[in-house]
Amino acid sequence: MRLVLLAAMLAACTDTTTPVDTNEGELITTVELTFAPVGGGEDLVFTWGDPENDGDPAIDAIQLSDGVDYTLSVRFLDELASPAEDITEEVADEADEHQVFFTGDAVSGPASSAAGVLVHRYADTDMNGLPIGLDNEIDTDGTGTGTLTVTLRHLPPEGNAIVKVEGLAETVASEGFGGIGGDSDASVDFPVEVVAR
């Protein structure tokens, strides 16, 4: 029996004792928002990052100025990869299967009927003419605070059923994310404060 056991030990592979972190590139650890004042001025960059992907995130508070209109571009990063990987390009390539939604009590717009301090409009479209949400316009609407939730929804077709269709943002506004298909690759909350200029 000792011989057999020895054989079993010899058959053991070293891959057991040398674990590696792999994530097949699907992971997102960081959401980065860049607010650029339309009239010119310095870009404001805010991130929601959980670079260890352990549920212990570092979250920037968004501070914007009342009466200023911004363009908002969104980036998604995998900071567990070394060097950090920009997932945004992949999202753009598969824009017909992705959409970014802006919800929460800080924002009013297609996906949110709240009376928030921010007003959101989509500024990009995919190959089917539907919004993506990587490029956006944000106007401020008075001073105050609130929460902005940024959600990247992956909406791949299910068999023959097309999941990314027209009016998803409006459905989210009325029914929440349970009213649309797909699932969330990212869904993060930012605290928002709009201050007087």
Partner: protein
């Protein structure tokens, strides 16, 4: 059913009877014993031995044919010879003689000085279930054929006290008396099945077509079968290898309407010489997306291939068998199961959002799972002189599971990839029966050693590990005229080292889950060893209160289980459950203390077995939401949203209940079977009912057994009504959704055999959920997401040759 009693007393030969394929006929009656000669070749060692042969008794009562079923090889020829010399009164149906098959059991004992003649005993229709002190039920090949093309769990669901934990596609896991698969042990050909059995969509990778019988042992049975068997055991035994020269086999075809499923299976047994038997077998099943009553269950298509080969060589009185099996499953995971936040999750509870858009196809899309399981085994069985028989088995198993999420097109490959490699050596010794006056003693023991390693790659979930385990057991059984006592002891030691990447170790460390575990770093890898010591014991008794009519069993058992890797180390979001789960590395083994009485009743018009049980489980690992010190639910904020945090916490729990079956007029033209089960499970300290425990069940089945008509033998028709009770005892605050309502399901089945000169044909037609009733199963993975599959009609044709 006739009772057969355990006592191997050296009394007059006794005869009972059970007709193997045609239960409604009166069995043949043994008129004349044959003289049995103790083989000279066995004299030197003077061994005892028990042999079962199957005798074909013709209409005249003459023996037409005898085949060997099981027993030591040294007695095989003598048993076959003696079987041919037996004289019977033929089996009868409605007073008319009919041919029948009957099992005959010989016991060989060496001649002694004061008994110059060999002593033997013939018993017809031995029933192993009656000998087990546990509640136990065995499904024979005829029953297994009726569920051909279904999973192992579906196959055993008909046993009272066994329920299903349905998966997303054509996958299901068994539950015995409320205990889920991680607390059960599955043995294939005596080999522990080693797989990732902890996951909710991980069905056991065992092929029911490769089984000659499947036995369900209810309750803790750790002594004989090893750790993990704290809730019960499922024993899958392949059919005996063909020992007569020639070629035989079996073919099955099945088609099912729901999912347009097709299934084909073939087994070929070739015996070129008296001492060599060969077998090849395989089957293939393919199913499209299945249908709930109101919609297609999108992406539940599946494809399953099973292959097997075995060779048995019988030199002298030894047996050497080598075998290989492969299981290869590809199955979609229902589109509706998404790992969404609790808010999203709540919105789709009533009906899947895209239910109207799905169509049923054979395509298997992401999310999907792909699983292979390879089993290689080599076994030696031989005699140790007059002491007993020994069997040594080596087995190697490789279980490879890959799960593919819906991901961006640029991402290839699986998101979860598990490889589990297991090598095991089992050595078992069975002592020959020794008789002392009216008592007989038999017993045995064994040692098991196994080495296992788990390699995981993918999104953070569980670490790699390596484990070495060793166990030893002994058992002894004393049989008297109308009673038997069996006791056993077992000890197991399991050492397991988990290997964590630095980042995984840091994640655990930050959460404070490494208390009580000492890890040391070797390079950048944390080695986290744990050792577990476990003792098991059992004491059981059988009492034939009214001989051949009433028997009573009592089992007292304790058994332990080592925590699974997910219970210790899970750190992440489960792929099919909207929670963030954290393992508890310093969990202790779970230990069950159980008592289970069983009563059997056997009369010509009534056959019944009813059992009750109470199991105290110490350190029962409860998967439940974590609460903060002020009693609020704890949440984890991840980049995918905010999820409730679940923990694996040890609690003391009490499981109790009853299950059973009553057959009215089991041989009659019209018969009725009632079966049912009740399970209660409570946390001892709080008295709260545990989540996830099956509701009450009941089933009533009417049987019609019309007489043979022309070439059609043994026609039968069954109509059944199953009641699924609502699980209404659990605190709703512990769950994401209220438990589903109960349901009544109507089913029907019919079958007939048509023997021809070349092959025996067998036809069956079965319909389940005839009324296409919408319902949800509390223990099914689909429960939160969709209705169970609706009506299905299955047609099967089998041929035995």
């Amino acid at each position: 059913m006739w009772l057969w009693w355990a006592a191997l007393a050296l009394a007059e030969p006794t005869v009972g009877g059970e007709v193997v394929p045609a239960a409604e006929t009166e069995p043949p009656v043994l008129l004349e014993q044959a003289s049995l000669h103790y083989p000279e070749s066995a004299l030197a060692e003077g061994v005892h031995g028990s042999v079962t042969v199957r005798v074909h008794v013709g209409e005249s009562g003459a023996v037409q044919d005898v085949s060997f079923v099981e027993g030591p090889e040294v007695f095989r020829l003598e048993a076959l010879r003696a079987g041919r010399k037996l004289v019977f009164a033929p089996a009868t149906r409605d007073g008319q003689p009919v041919p029948a098959l009957i099992d005959v059991y010989f016991h060989f004992a060496p001649p002694e000085h004061d008994h110059p003649e060999p002593v033997y005993e013939i018993v017809v229709g031995a029933d192993g279930d009656r000998l087990d002190t546990h509640a136990r039920e065995t499904l024979d090949e005829a029953v297994l054929d009726q569920s051909s093309g279904e999973s192992l769990a579906d196959t055993v669901e008909g046993v009272a006290g066994v329920e299903l934990a349905g998966g997303a596609a054509d996958t299901a896991k068994p539950i015995i008396r409320g205990q889920v698969e991680r607390r059960l042990l599955l043995l294939y050909d005596g080999i522990r099945h080693e797989s990732q059995k902890w996951g909710p969509d991980h069905a056991p990778e065992i092929d029911p077509f490769s089984a000659g019988s499947v036995s369900v042992v209810k309750g803790a049975a750790g002594v004989r079968y090893g750790p993990d068997a704290i809730g019960g055991v499922i024993l899958v035994e392949p059919p005996a290898m063909r020992t007569e020269r020639g070629v035989g086999g079996k073919a099955l075809l099945m088609g099912a309407a729901n999912g347009r499923k097709g299934y084909a299976a073939l087994r070929l047994d070739v015996t070129p010489t008296d001492d060599l038997s060969l077998r090849v077998e395989g089957n293939l099943a393919r199913s499209a997306d299945r249908l709930a009553p109101d919609y297609v269950l999108g992406n539940t298509a599946s494809r399953l291939l099973n292959l097997g080969a075995a060779a048995e060589w019988r030199p002298g009185s030894s047996v050497i068998k080598v075998a290989w099996r492969r299981y290869d499953l590809a199955a979609g995971i229902f589109y509706g199961i998404t790992n969404s936040t609790p808010e999203d999750f709540g919105n789709q509870l009533e009906r899947p959002l895209l239910a109207d858009a799905w169509t049923s196809t054979y395509a298997i899309d992401r999310p999907r799972q792909s699983v292979t399981h390879d089993l290689f085994s080599a076994r030696f069985e031989g005699h140790l002189g007059s002491y007993g028989d020994v069997a040594v088995t080596y087995a190697a198993q490789i279980n490879h599971r890959q799960e593919f999420e819906q991901v961006r097109d640029t991402v290839e490959g699986p998101q979860y990839d598990f490889v589990l490699r297991t090598h095991s050596v089992d050595a078992a010794f069975t002592q020959h029966t020794h008789a002392f006056g009216h008592a007989a003693a038999e017993g045995g023991g064994g040692v098991q050693v196994s080495f296992q390693e788990n390699v995981y790659r993918g999104l953070p979930l569980v670490p790699n590990y390596r484990s070495l385990s060793a166990g030893a057991h002994v058992w002894e059984r004393l049989s008297f005229d109308h009673t038997a006592i069996e006791g056993g002891l077992r000890y197991d030691r399991v050492g397991r080292t988990a290997y964590l990447t630095e980042s995984t170790w840091e994640r655990h460390d930050r959460r404070g889950t490494l208390d009580g575990v000492s890890c040391t770093f070797v390079g950048e890898v944390a080695h986290c060893p744990r050792g577990f010591d476990m003792a098991s014991a059992s004491l059981g008794g059988l009492w034939q209160a009214v001989p051949d009519v009433v028997d009573v069993k009592l089992d007292l058992s304790t058994a332990s289980r080592v925590p699974n890797t997910d219970e210790q180390w899970l750190n992440g979001s489960a792929p099919s459950f909207p929670v963030y789960a954290l393992g508890t590395p310093d969990l202790s083994p779970e230990t069950t203390w159980g008592v289970s009485p069983t009563v059997g009743l056997s009369l010509p018009w009534l056959d019944a077995e009813v059992g009750a049980y109470a199991n105290l489980v110490q350190n029962y690992v409860l998967f439940a939401p974590e609460r903060t010190e002020d009693g609020q639910l704890a949440f984890d904020t991840t980049i995918r949203g905010t999820f409730p945090r679940y923990r694996f916490d040890p609690v003391d729990a009490l499981f109790y209940g009853a299950d059973g079956r009553v057959d009215l007029a089991p041989q009659g033209l019209l018969g009725l079977t009632l079966s049912g089960s009740l399970v209660r499970a409570q946390e001892l300290a709080s008295g709260e009912h545990l989540i996830g425990i099956v509701g009450d069940r009941g089933r009533i089945t009417g049987h019609l057994r019309p007489p043979d008509a022309g070439p059609m033998l043994d026609p039968w028709v069954d109509v059944s009504l199953s009641a699924i009770g609502k699980q209404a005892r659990v605190d709703p605050a512990l769950d994401f959704a209220p438990p589903p309502d109960g349901a009544l399901l109507l089913g029907a089945a019919l079958g007939v055999s048509v023997p021809t000169r070349a092959v025996d044909l067998d036809f069956g037609l079965e319909a389940v959920n005839l009324t296409n009733t919408r319902y949800r199963e509390y223990t099914s993975l689909l429960r939160y997401y969709a209705d169970m599959p609706g009506r299905d009609v299955r047609l099967r044709v089998g041929a035995t040759f």
